[in-house]
Amino acid sequence: MAGHAETFGFSGGPEGDGSRVMTYVAAISEALREEMRRDPSVLVMGEDIGNDFGGAFKVTKGFAAEFGPLRVLNTPLAELGFTGVASGMALMGLRPVVEMQFADFISSAFDSIVQYAATTHYRWGAAVPMVIRAPSDGGLRSGPFHSQNPEAWFVHTPGLKVVAPATPADAKGLLTAAIRDDNPVIYFESKPLYRNLKGYVPEGEHVVPIGKAHLARSGKNLSIVTYGAELHQALAAAERLADEGIECDVLDLRSLKPLDEEAVLATARKTGKVLVVHAANRLAGVGAEVAAMIADRAFEWLDAPVRRLGGLDTPVPFSPPLEDAYRPDAAKIAAMARELARY
């Protein structure tokens, strides 16, 4: 597949013999393991990560044996408490990486994140270098409480950074960057990509800077701005649209806070037509901010209104026909893009 490296968010490196092709979830594990080996202040904590279990998604499988129980800290079901504990560790110079078992449970830790961790540096100048890994997103028939995309809450919170990698290479590079960042970073990893997506991942140190989007596909007719698993739906849609003579820019935001304003405005000014896509429900989602940014700073370049496609404004439903109706996919993206192209 010719566009492999570009499609998967990594360009400029050799793919070699394929030994560095790995799943998205393996890339997360690799980043964690390498950072823990590099820096003794990095630790992981969360539910069911201790002993040999390795967490609900096995991201930390084998970690307890290598790093011991204090660096692979198994926690009770107490998201609010253990996220507060992570803040205290971070204040004292450790770099905890908190695993939410599911992103849906991050609301249980909300105060510890948005009230304590996010405000501390502004209030009294103490850095809180911590990462919260949040396994998010749906399409897996997992129901209202194992399918959510709650990134907008955190994008709205001053003091946090928010990232959402869409490729194995970015999964490694953004997690590495998040761990090395001196601020609280919420890292939304995409469950539907965990074992369904493989890609080339650079060996050894690989850092993707927070705040930089990636142009995953280049085209002149319209722009699709997206992130997370929806990137792959957008790329599939763009492939179909190309057959119909509609060439798309597909911009993978990668970081949601800070947003790469320059990249968003560049694609809007290039094509004049923008469709923003995310799996999170649409109202007051990240897409609203992207659309506002374009309206504000690229209005004169626009040839059509900025369109948004998101999840429906409902809880995430369970049953396949309902979840499919809820969720943006390549066909819905293509349909809305065609309409936009004709505008």
Binding site: L70, T120, R123
Partner: protein, 323 residues
């Protein structure tokens, strides 16, 4: 009288910190009633034995997470009255440079102080995190975390004590039971008003102490911190006192029965300690001399704070992120 581990000299130092806390508080309350304060603030009256006694029990390398009635701890730990008044006045020279209100956010890691937020239960797990960092690095240091009877009803109180016990953390949680959470008396927000008993549920020691007896507070906190540093795990300490004024400066506390206030006023922590010091041979003149020096120090702080510059509005977005 309580058994004390304090020398005569230390007792006078402790008394001085209590007098300074009281002098600061009285001046602060007067200023705020004159409209010279900025925003709201919280009287410390009645809490001096706890905040000073517990603060004095800390070793230099320990870390503490005080709350809004713990001025004595902030002072003992090294936040000067100058910086504290400047904080209260919202000045650039305050601990938070005008970013956080009154005692909130008065954190300074160089002094081993973790700042608190208005959601009081939230210092409790954060302080546990600091304690776990000591376990992580194998350091013989402990953390003292303050909270109140009100916050003891929160889920975080339970979550944190459960984890602290589970992990044998070098952690001491001191609950200042001052009888009221804003307007609600303890018996109206919990069935078990003997808060130290809750320790049983976590398999850790629970101690109840007279929060108006500075030496009792000091002894209980010191024992718990020493034990924690030596790997003995956490302790829950309930220090019983009375909030002698309203919740905050605006609150007249009409809901507090006068008889209850009178009963506690007769056991004022400063007077109790003074009587004890006089009984052991300290002259009242010496104590009053200490009081005058504290009042002068406070006055100097007020003048300095009121003369300090306001923060520059051009800096309002600075510091949201660590560089």
């Amino acid at each position: 009288m309580t058994e004390t581990s304090l020398t005569d000299r230390e007792r006078l130092e402790v008394y001085t910190w209590m007098r300074l806390t009281r002098a600061f508080d009285e001046r602060m309350v007067a200023l705020w009633k004159q409209g010279r304060g900025v925003g709201g603030t919280f009287s410390q009256r009645g809490h001096e034995a706890i905040s000073v006694g517990a603060g004095w029990a800390l070793a230099p390398d320990d870390v503490v997470a005080p709350m809004h009635r713990d001025l004595g701890t902030f002072l003992v730990r090294g936040i000067t009255p100058l910086r504290a008044f400047a904080s209260l006045m919202g000045r650039a020279t305050g601990v938070t440079g005008g970013r956080d209100i009154n005692f909130h956010g008065m954190g300074d890691l160089s002094l081993g102080i973790i700042g608190f937020i208005s959601h009081l239960p939230h210092s409790v797990p954060v302080a546990l995190g600091a304690a776990m960092s000591f376990r992580y690095r194998g350091e013989k240091r402990a953390v003292l975390s303050f909270t109140g009877d009100g916050a003891s009803g929160s889920g975080l109180f339970h979550e944190t004590l459960n984890m602290a016990a589970l992990w044998d953390a070098p952690y001491v949680l001191l609950v200042e039971n001052n009888q009221y959470a804003y307007s609600t008396p303890v018996h109206e927000h919990t069935k078990v008003t003997d808060l130290a008993r809750r320790a049983d549920g976590y398999g850790i020691p629970g101690v109840s102490v007279d929060g108006n007896d500075v030496e009792a507070v000091h002894a209980a906190v010191k024992m718990a911190l020493d034990r924690a540093r030596e790997g003995g795990g956490p302790t829950l300490i309930e220090a019983r006192t009375m909030r002698m004024m309203g919740h905050a400066i605006h609150d007249g506390a009409e809901y507090v029965p006068p008889a209850q206030l009178a009963e506690w006023a007769a056991r004022d922590p400063l007077q109790l300690f003074e009587e004890r010091l006089v009984a052991t041979g300290v002259s009242r003149d010496d104590l009053e001399g200490i009081g005058r020096r504290c009042e002068a120090e406070v006055e100097e702080a007020v003048v300095w704070a009121e003369g300090s510059p306001w923060p520059d509005p051009a800096t309002v977005t600075d510091g949201v992120y660590a560089p």
